[in-house]
């Protein structure tokens, strides 16, 4: 995702990460009880997991996150005029890049004189499932996070 942000930064496509709540709280990263703790976890996301995009912290009650569907790792694309044009219940770099290319193409097509009207489309995209990396992440949160995930999903 960082590389995607860098690839499109000079084409006026911005990228941010909104810090929400702990999806898999563990001994090392427990559930959030204060904004101070939320800022600390968000800084660790930057410093330990290497997120280079701007990280913005949501309110402690997740007002923004909840309004947009509160999925643990969803992605949206917004226009400059406050219109959401893409939403996905998970984050996948290929799906996002495909959408960005399409939307940038719309701008070019309009510039070349095409008259375009929006319409809605649904599509089932595919993301990479890396179980080893996922469990490594759970272990980083603490043994409780691993136990609870195994209990929930086997």
């Amino acid at each position: 995702m960082n590389a995607l942000a860098e690839r499109y930064a000079d084409r006026r496509v911005g990228s941010i990460f909104i810090y929400t709540h702990e999806a898999h709280p563990g001994e090392h990263y427990p559930h959030l009880t204060s904004m101070e703790q939320k800022f600390k976890h968000a800084r660790d996301l930057r410093d330990i997991l290497g997120v280079t995009r701007p990280i913005l912290v949501d309110a402690l009650d997740g007002a923004c996150h909840r309004a947009y569907g509160s999925m643990p790792n969803m992605s949206w694309i917004f226009t400059q005029s406050s219109v959401p044009v893409y939403k996905a219940d998970w984050t996948d770099v290929h799906s996002l890049e495909n959408a960005i290319e399409y939307f940038l193409g719309v701008i070019e097509r309009r510039r070349s004189g095409e008259r375009l009207a929006p319409f809605r489309v649904e599509r089932l995209d595919h993301r990479i499932q890396d179980q080893a990396a996922f469990y490594k992440g759970l272990e980083r949160n603490g043994p409780k996070a691993v136990r609870e995930f195994r209990a929930a999903f086997g």
């Binding site: 941010i16 709280p25 009880t33 996150h65 044009v85």
Partner: protein, 70 residues
């Protein structure tokens, strides 16, 4: 900033069990594409307040990923 204690504890659930995380999987009820998006306050890591609209106003398109350390 909102401080309803009951909401805070439900949203910031303390264990990953279906009864606590499933109520938040509400993508099917998320806003439709094409309409005006709701704005919310957000905070930079240094504590400065901004907003979602302030962020997306700087770019033709803005990709927003939601998530956390865990």
């Amino acid at each position: 900033m909102m401080t309803d204690p009951e909401l805070l504890s439900r949203y910031n659930y303390d264990e990953f069990v279906p009864a606590k995380f499933e109520p938040w999987m509400r993508f099917a009820f998320s806003p439709p594409l094409g309409g005006p998006a709701q704005d919310f306050p957000l905070w930079h890591l240094d504590g400065r307040e901004t907003s979602l609209a302030a962020i997306w106003s700087h770019h033709t398109y803005t990709v927003v990923e939601f998530g956390s350390f865990t």
